[in-house]
């Protein structure tokens, strides 16, 4: 089995793991977004969705999946980053510049994926504390702030309507989109996917999906703040 360990500890192998877990996380985000968009419909729809989610098998799968994917994704990327830093050596460049002709956003996204990701980690921690770890208190009505038992929608609105939390969620959501803007296509590259005709579709499609996810999540705190 040493070949397997060797493969997945190599740069390309680590990148592959980061890519697979990354795409898994994207898949999770898509589901998460679709569910969350129920927020815009009646209170009961959102709360019923949340209830059925939490009483089913899906939440276990998601929890376990995330508990595996997140650390793997972050671990691999940070490990690579340490190697990458070493590879540059002690002396860096005095002047930073580029020769790329791609649009600036794409170039910046590609170079800031790691740092954006680390900031995201902080956001995710808060988010998990807000809505995952406090799920029990919402369910049994001890959340406070006039949120009734099981009324997740009110809990969400109560949280997001506080300007600092609302702003944090808006920024965190945008950052997620930014992270994926480069991340989705890079994941495909990590698998070695290349085709002269289909690669441009992946690049464009990945960018579009990242934008939808980013703006989709952002729309919620904005909606709460504006309403």
């Amino acid at each position: 089995m040493s070949w397997l360990v060797k493969t997945f500890t190599s740069h390309t192998g680590r990148k592959l793991l980061a890519g697979i877990t990354g795409l898994g996380l994207v898949l999770f985000l898509v589901m998460h977004l679709i569910g969350n968009l129920q927020l815009f419909s009646s209170s009961s729809a959102f709360n019923e969705y949340a209830h059925s989610l939490h009483s089913g098998f899906l939440i276990v799968l998601a929890d376990v999946g995330l508990l595996i994917a997140f650390p793997l994704h972050i671990g691999m990327v940070v490990w690579l980053a340490i190697d990458n830093k070493k590879a540059r050596g002690a002396q860096g460049y005095k002047v930073a510049n580029t020769k790329q002709k791609r649009n600036l956003a794409a170039v910046l996204a590609s170079k800031s994926t790691l740092y954006g990701g680390l900031v995201l980690l902080f956001f995710v921690a808060i988010h998990v504390w807000h809505f995952r770890l406090q799920h029990e208190s919402i369910a049994n009505g001890t959340f406070g702030g006039g949120v009734g038992p099981g009324d997740l929608k009110s809990a969400v609105i109560a949280t997001l309507s506080k300007p600092h939390w609302g702003a944090l969620y808006a920024i965190g959501s945008l950052l997620t989109g930014w992270h994926l803007f480069h991340g989705i296509q890079a994941a495909f590259r990590s698998f070695g996917a290349y085709h002269p005709r289909y690669t441009p579709i992946i690049v464009k499609g990945g960018g579009a999906l990242a934008t939808i996810i980013g703006l989709g999540f952002t729309s919620m705190p904005i909606w709460v703040l504006l309403r």
Binding site: T12, A87, T98, S110, R189, P196
Partner: protein
């Protein structure tokens, strides 16, 4: 024809591999715009020697953009501002008078500085020696036309084989990764029928060697392609990775890079 410009240079000076380096400023006045960048440096060196000062060491040889000897970073851009151009083919007509230019050597752990703007790139050859060839002895070759290669495949193989090993890809990469160089060498052989027998063993060994030499990993920022004087596409990196993963996870031949393979 007698156009001249003045430029200010800020050059990394480092008297030896272990020595401390620093930047030094030089004013070059009346430089012909028809001169190449290296000819401008020749002029500066001539001036320095005449003043009894130490000339700037920089690598160069063919001065027509094909040997891959030359290369340093000008204002943060490997080989200077022009795309598809080695620094020896960069001409002073590209710059406005009064320009301030910062010259730095390639920065990478696997390319230690030898002196001033000169670095040691022998690590590239260590990668090539780890299988970057077709294992055919002289005297065994069938008639050249016995192996048909389509025009497109031959053209694509050429695109990859055009890599001159200058190291600009490593210099431009934020991770100092040699992915473009290695993938181009891998891709050239992988495109051709002659390269198939060793295809997976080759990529497995070369990629592993690249890592062992201390180069970083690919973050897909695509700076390498932009910096490459031969315009080598990042598509070779994707193809290289695919072959590598196939070699490691699927094929028998690529399983281990230290299986005592020799030749």
């Amino acid at each position: 024809m007698s156009d001249t410009i003045n430029v200010t240079l800020e050059v990394w000076r480092q008297p030896g591999a272990k020595a401390q380096g620093r930047f030094e400023r030089y004013e070059m006045n009346g430089v012909s715009t028809h001169a190449s960048f290296l000819e401008m440096l020749d002029g500066l060196n001539e001036k320095l020697i005449n003043e009894g000062k130490e000339p700037i060491a920089f690598e160069h040889d063919c001065r027509e953009g094909i040997c891959g000897s030359c290369g340093f970073v000008i204002n943060g851009q490997a080989h200077g501002p022009d795309r598809g151009t080695t620094v020896c083919q960069l001409h002073m007509r590209r710059f406005k008078s009064g320009t301030h230019l910062v010259l730095e050597p390639w920065r990478a752990k696997a390319f230690p500085v030898v002196r001033d703007l000169m670095v040691d790139r022998t690590s590239f050859d260590k990668i090539q020696a780890a299988g970057g060839y077709n294992g055919v002895n002289v005297g065994n070759a069938p008639d050249a036309n016995a192996i048909l290669v389509g025009k497109e495949a031959a053209g694509e193989a050429f695109d990859a084989a055009a890599c001159i090993g200058c190291g600009a890809c490593v210099a431009a990469c934020k991770n100092a990764s040699a992915m473009l160089f290695t993938s181009a060498k891998v891709g050239h052989f992988a495109m051709l029928p002659q390269g198939q027998p060793e295809r997976y063993r080759r990529v497995a060994r070369m990629f592993d060697e690249m890592e062992a030499q201390g180069f970083g990993a690919c973050s897909w920022t695509q700076e390498c392609e932009a910096a490459c004087p031969k315009g080598i596409s990042v598509k070779w990196i994707s193809r290289g990775k695919r072959d590598y993963l196939k070699a490691k996870l699927v094929k028998d031949s690529g399983q281990s890079s230290d299986d005592g393979f020799a030749g």
